[in-house]
């Protein structure tokens, strides 16, 4: 536990010190929320799910913020490789699984903080949360997304050695995962093929879980969301840990 805590602590300290990163990574979610939300608010009618489009969009943008931050936190391992710091941890008499778990929880924590900032900001544009119990549910789902996708980032970072692959990851993993998650469109309105893809995307279950927490309504039963996302997290931790163990430096 000490070791996991130590690595967690390092990640959180680094995060809290990089003010520009915190502010910088608020940019894109806020951009989506404001431009897309207010731009489409008057033309889109989804009265069967939510009051208006902005309200519909908020859970998706919170999930987006958690997703981006957590994958990014996992990919930090590449920097640690390049800056040599990873060697310092790998040569210590501790197990690699402990290192990986510390990194995962650290990444998830920063992702939750980032998601919370978006959540708080969206309160100013008129979102009302049903109650503290529901809020807790939203945080539960944010935690699961954070853990699952930090592990995912670690798994990728274990296999690539430099940042050249970063753009590739963004284009072929991060954006499709976000785009197909039902964060921006109601699932029912999609063509059949996209609907299936959306139901395969694990983030969909995170978005719907958060939606249930924040608005009290969701398109997928929150219990199913919880089961699917928990299973996905466990699998990702497993894959991440096993790839991380194989790193050679």
């Amino acid at each position: 536990m000490d070791v996991i805590y130590t690595i967690w602590l390092r990640n959180v300290k680094r995060y809290l010190r990089s003010k520009s990163r915190i502010v910088g990574s608020l940019g894109m979610p806020l951009f989506f929320l404001i431009i897309l939300g207010f731009g489409l608010n008057s033309v889109v009618n989804i009265s069967n799910i939510s009051g208006n489009y902005v309200e519909f969009l908020v859970p998706g943008i919170v999930a987006m913020s958690v997703l981006f931050t957590s994958i990014f936190a996992g990919i930090q391992i590449i920097w640690d490789k390049q800056f040599g710091f990873l060697k310092e941890t790998l040569v210590a008499p501790i197990s690699r699984t402990e290192i990986m778990l510390g990194q995962t929880f650290g990444g998830a924590t920063t992702a939750i903080i980032q998601g919370t900032i978006i959540l708080v900001l969206s309160l100013f544009i008129g979102i009302s949360i049903p109650g503290p119990g529901h809020l807790l549910i939203a945080f539960g789902f944010m935690t699961l997304i954070g853990i699952a996708f930090t592990s995912f980032g670690i798994a990728i970072a274990s296999r690539i050695d430099d940042m050249n692959g970063f753009q590739l990851i963004m284009s072929f993993f991060v954006f499709p995962i976000f785009g197909l998650s039902g964060a921006m469109f109601p699932i029912q309105s999609l063509p059949l093929l996209f609907r299936d893809l959306t139901l395969i995307d694990p983030l969909t279950y995170g978005v719907e879980g958060i939606r249930f927490g924040l608005t009290g309504v969701s398109q997928i039963n929150p219990v199913i969301c919880f089961i699917v996302l928990s299973a996905f997290s466990v699998v990702m931790i497993g894959i991440g840990a096993s790839l991380f163990r194989k790193i050679q430096i």
């Binding site: 000490d2 070791v3 805590y5 130590t6 390092r10 300290k13 680094r14 010190r17 990089s18 390049q82 800056f83 040599g84 710091f85 060697k87 310092e88 941890t89 790998l90 040569v91 210590a92 008499p93 501790i94 050679q248 430096i249």
Partner: protein
């Protein structure tokens, strides 16, 4: 018990043999040097001893622990300062130390005491709370050494510890390493391609070239094997006639690319005679240097090549440029 025992250790990367069947032993409390050009296999050897790379064949023991069978045993008993920087620049010196101490599960009270003590030892107490990214190259190196000592290792590996440092800092570090060895009895294994560094610090030196140990002895013995004095003559010619003459005071003549070196017993006495002979045999002399044998001559003698400081220089330069870019 030996601090390190290596037998028939080999590491291959695909077809390339980085470390080729080497064996040696290092006694406790010794300062042992691995000397050779870049790419000779020094770092690969250290990586295997530190359990960071799996050997392809052979075995090695550190402090009685097998590097393959008991990784944690080895890891607990060694400290290592890597060739490339390995500090977290976004943390302070104190935090880097604390992180290390926690990873090695040193109890809080001991940990904090030792951090104060070690930072004082390397003269970084005043900068304890500054972020590492504000540190100079020499300060980072000192911090890395302090960190490597935090868990009181029995064996300390230093991989090119003075690479890219200015002469003053190098001197300071050498004194410091000697003190550690003397006062704390730590076995030190150092890799370097600086001849003077190996000569000054090491009790015994293994000269490594192309993955093999070509010579292993104390610096004095190694130099004695080359001869009493060395005269290096830069010349396009080679005095074959002179070499075939059986002159008692000439110990050996070795031919290299663009120069040849003559090892002889008493240069003060025989220099004029030697010059006369060279002129007599019509050897074109571009320049002559006379010196006591250095490890450079030893390396030349065993490998037929000079360690080529220019080449090493460019590589160092690139490495430093790379480091600088990353800051």
């Amino acid at each position: 018990m030996n601090a390190v025992t290596v037998s028939d250790l080999t590491k291959k990367f695909g077809d390339f043999v980085a470390v080729d069947n080497i064996s040696f032993e290092i006694a406790q409390g010794e300062i042992f040097g691995l000397l050779g050009p870049n790419g000779a296999g020094k770092t690969t050897t250290i990586s295997m001893l530190a359990t960071m790379l799996d050997p392809t064949a052979g075995s090695a023991e550190v402090c009685g622990y097998d590097v393959r069978k008991n990784e944690d045993g080895v890891r607990k008993s060694i400290g290592i300062v890597f060739q490339d920087p390995s500090l977290d620049e976004e943390l302070t010196a104190g935090e880097n130390m604390d992180f290390h101490g926690r990873l090695y599960r040193i109890p809080k009270k001991t940990r904090l005491e030792r951090i104060v003590e070690l930072l004082d030892l390397v003269g970084l107490t005043e900068r304890k709370d500054d972020l590492v990214k504000t540190y100079s190259g020499g300060m980072r190196r000192r911090l890395e050494i302090a960190r490597g000592l935090l868990h009181r290792p029995q064996v300390l590996f230093l991989d090119e510890p003075t690479l890219g440092l200015d002469p003053q800092t190098r001197n300071y570090l050498w004194e410091y390493i000697e003190r550690l060895n003397r006062e704390m009895g730590i076995t030190v294994i150092i890799t370097t391609h600086y001849m003077d560094e190996a000569d000054r610090l090491c009790k015994r030196i293994a000269i490594v070239d192309k993955g093999k140990i070509v010579a292993l002895d104390s610096p004095e013995q190694l130099k004695r094997q080359v001869g009493g004095d060395v005269v290096t003559v830069f010349s396009p010619d080679y005095p074959e006639a002179l070499a075939s003459l059986n002159i008692s005071w000439i110990e050996r003549i070795e031919r290299y690319d663009g120069f040849f070196s003559i090892a002889l017993s008493d240069v003060e006495e025989h220099l004029s005679e030697l010059m006369k002979l060279l002129i007599q045999y019509e050897i074109a002399i571009r320049s002559v240097s006379i010196h006591k044998p250095t490890l450079e001559d030893v390396f030349l003698h065993y490998t037929g090549r000079s360690i080529r400081n220019e080449e090493a220089g460019t590589k160092d330069h690139m490495r430093m440029a790379y480091r600088a870019r990353r800051h």
